[in-house]
Point group: D2
Chain length 296, copies 4
Amino acid sequence: MVQLGFTRYGKAEVRVVRIIRGAAPDGGDVIIDRNVSSAVSGDIGDAYYTGDNTNVLATDTQKNLVNVFAKRLGNVEPEEFATKLAQFLVTENEPLTRARVAIDQYGWTRIGTHTHSFARAGDYVRTTTVVHDQDAGTSVVSGLKDLIVLNTTNSEFWGFPRDAYTTLPETKDRILATQVEAQWRFRPGADLDWAGFDWGEAFETAKQVLLDTFAGTYSYALQQTLYAIGTKIIETVPAICEVRMALPNKHHFLVDLELFGETNDNEVFYAADRPYGLIEGIALADDAPDAGLAWT
Amino acid sequence: MVQLGFTRYGKAEVRVVRIIRGAAPDGGDVIIDRNVSSAVSGDIGDAYYTGDNTNVLATDTQKNLVNVFAKRLGNVEPEEFATKLAQFLVTENEPLTRARVAIDQYGWTRIGTHTHSFARAGDYVRTTTVVHDQDAGTSVVSGLKDLIVLNTTNSEFWGFPRDAYTTLPETKDRILATQVEAQWRFRPGADLDWAGFDWGEAFETAKQVLLDTFAGTYSYALQQTLYAIGTKIIETVPAICEVRMALPNKHHFLVDLELFGETNDNEVFYAADRPYGLIEGIALADDAPDAGLAWT
Amino acid sequence: MVQLGFTRYGKAEVRVVRIIRGAAPDGGDVIIDRNVSSAVSGDIGDAYYTGDNTNVLATDTQKNLVNVFAKRLGNVEPEEFATKLAQFLVTENEPLTRARVAIDQYGWTRIGTHTHSFARAGDYVRTTTVVHDQDAGTSVVSGLKDLIVLNTTNSEFWGFPRDAYTTLPETKDRILATQVEAQWRFRPGADLDWAGFDWGEAFETAKQVLLDTFAGTYSYALQQTLYAIGTKIIETVPAICEVRMALPNKHHFLVDLELFGETNDNEVFYAADRPYGLIEGIALADDAPDAGLAWT
Amino acid sequence: MVQLGFTRYGKAEVRVVRIIRGAAPDGGDVIIDRNVSSAVSGDIGDAYYTGDNTNVLATDTQKNLVNVFAKRLGNVEPEEFATKLAQFLVTENEPLTRARVAIDQYGWTRIGTHTHSFARAGDYVRTTTVVHDQDAGTSVVSGLKDLIVLNTTNSEFWGFPRDAYTTLPETKDRILATQVEAQWRFRPGADLDWAGFDWGEAFETAKQVLLDTFAGTYSYALQQTLYAIGTKIIETVPAICEVRMALPNKHHFLVDLELFGETNDNEVFYAADRPYGLIEGIALADDAPDAGLAWT
């Protein structure tokens, strides 16, 4: 016999753009540009067993809710948007016991002093994932992705074991580049007054710490840089208790120019696509509460 | 203070193509085209704490191993390749206690009777993920992705609750289309004689069951189709004890042609990109052994 | 002063799926899955100069027309669809003098004997581009893209000049792989009875010739393979007078395994991403009529 | 008989990163991050006819030259890089009569005051394409792509003809958004002293004009905005004699919230993917010299 395990369904990638006119300090407009995905769980097994949709909140309805919440909530941080939507989904739909709302938020920059005109920033995507469970409560994980950073020096890699399959030479000076995907978990509502919490400031601080720590760490391994960033974020933003990162090592290989009568003193590099190193790791505050469903 | 949580690093997306000349039944060549990602865990904390690489098997060395194994193993199924490489990584490197090898395998079709010529198939990507842990042993998960399937009819969607945010009309006849990502877990070595196991046949059978069940299920919800597929795979391939799927509902919306004096009796559809429904679920044999590290 | 040069506008990427029920020889359904882009030119300068839209056929209306034509035309080849739509756009809209309709067509394969079920083929995309001009008449260019082909041998590359910047060794045996983008121009209506022409057969023949010629050509340069394919298509399909191709050389580099005590007799390759060679060329029948606007 | 038409081949997408240490005004490093594609034409027919590579400058050699030029030229604008490389390819290789070098250049931003650390900008890609022909001389086309801009208002669309296929309502207030791909042609060397020309300033000026004109144009059609941008660039940068643009109309559809008891006074939009309008056009100075091979 076959059982049904964990189930979850929803509407993915609702591309909602919210304009708040005149809301900028100088009277300019504000754009909130989000890609919102919601998913719900609960007493929905019959849909899987027999196609009985009695308890199925249609994904189309979830899409409608994203739009309605965009209207009603207006100029709020993505964490607040996701939290309110996730809680609404569970509270207002009796069969549903859990909801997950994930948001990608794209940045826009005002064009000069034009009050209505914007250019897409493109330097990174801000992310948040909120899981609300009837029993376990609400968890908030935020972060960013697609942030590409590079140090032109202050990176070494040596001292690794050499066996019959090792060909990589040691280096005392290399480019270190990566495309950051980082997620940080906030302490739960019991430990943190979410109602009055400034999610925007927490994001900006964590991002700045990330950038500064990447730049300021003399690195002997991308692993070391990863842990340094995670540690520093936790130390700087007390509301954050855990940081998870996946850092691809975007290899920049020194091009051999000697054949052409030229030196190459770390000047000309080939930026490779694949394969790439991939470094993953978790930094965790000593007193981090249990993660519960935060990472599910 | 900040602790280090779970860590893992490796070389991702090693694009290795292995030719086995004359190995086809008719004397034609065989191509094995794979994208291999390996990652290891173990006593590697010092790399994260201080950049001490004493225990760090370089990702470049992992890449070399993929190539060496491609040479030595030759014409083996991806499950065998991943298993042997994962076990080698742990066995031969004392500080490492766990390895994960994930493979995407691309299909090629012979061009007519030409013995050396091939066209890429493009209909799906075969996948496998093997985790070998010093203590927990070896787990094998296989599957496929990027398989796009469509039923022109035999799909309904109605009976879902209607609240103030529901606008979707019910339908008794719609297109059902999805891009299948499915992964199936094999019973562990204790329950299955992996040495003599025909991984290729298991894959072909599971894929065929998947296609036939998608096609043969009169569907009232994509959830129902998902569970039917998972159940049927488990019932048909005894070596498989669990199936996990993520099925995007690739919406095909009926175009309103009445405005132009035309009927549209389920003839003309707009294939939408975003948003899309996303249905996830797990089918599990009643006697499925614990998953252990299989899905990590 | 600044003049307005060539202008063109339209609706791009209308994803229309047309189902013709029971139209297959065995009573199964037929799917026509297309991505249609239309664009028009003519007396539309005022839209550019002042935003006067008096002569602007809205791109939304062009989208509607794609859907209406999908309904009305039913099971026709893409060349016929594009031709009729392009001619309609010009004939029915007085200010418009030229229209261009480009179609990508995706293949689907029936799942077993299921009459309503399909899997996306994924091996290539069939293309057509029709330009209809009030004065110059109609031109038809068809082809395919995203077809990846590979020969495991029968490819050499040597005899190229060696200067101070040349490091590539000569080779007498290499993998030859490319992702074909080919377009063939049909003789114009004056030379070809389009009304009774079998576009589908022409496509299948050209595609088969392309595959067979790629496979059957012992190649000393990808340039040679390109010209051989073009020539053979023109020789085999008299309705085709010109073939243009862009063939990326998808490099497969032999991996050096000697360091690990292994030989590598053209067995293990690294499939590189970038950079890649890119070979372009045109094959032209001696009596090819002037191309006119076909390639614009 | 089949003739050979236009031919061209080369190495595409050489990803070269050039570091110039301490070259910034404050002593920080400078990164030049480019994707360089070269292609050559000339007396190369034999490679196509018979695979005789006597006159074939290997694409691998072209790649080497990109790297050598990156070393030798150092901190130069992409226009200078492309011009020198294109001229070298023709001058130094007797059988070659024409070369085309196209460059995508990615922007990087210094991280705070860190002298060695950078984050990728991501707001647009700067482009240049240089064609050098033995007889026709050198042409330079520059521009940018992937720049996404949006006006929250000051855009109308009405007055277009309404026929039996028109369903789009008129609007007096909409979001106007596009992803700019613009290319501007410089006057040839006879009319412009390229040796002393400040390509960097020309780029920055043209980009700024583009942004300001997009923002400052009250638009009745995206066509109008396109022409306004082209005109203004030509009027502001005398060295530019032609501007070509392709502007996808990234539709933002107003979401109907009335069903949920909410107004939507241009506040909540759905950002659609496909289909999209695509507006193309050329602005040309009255005294623009003939384009010659610039756009080939």
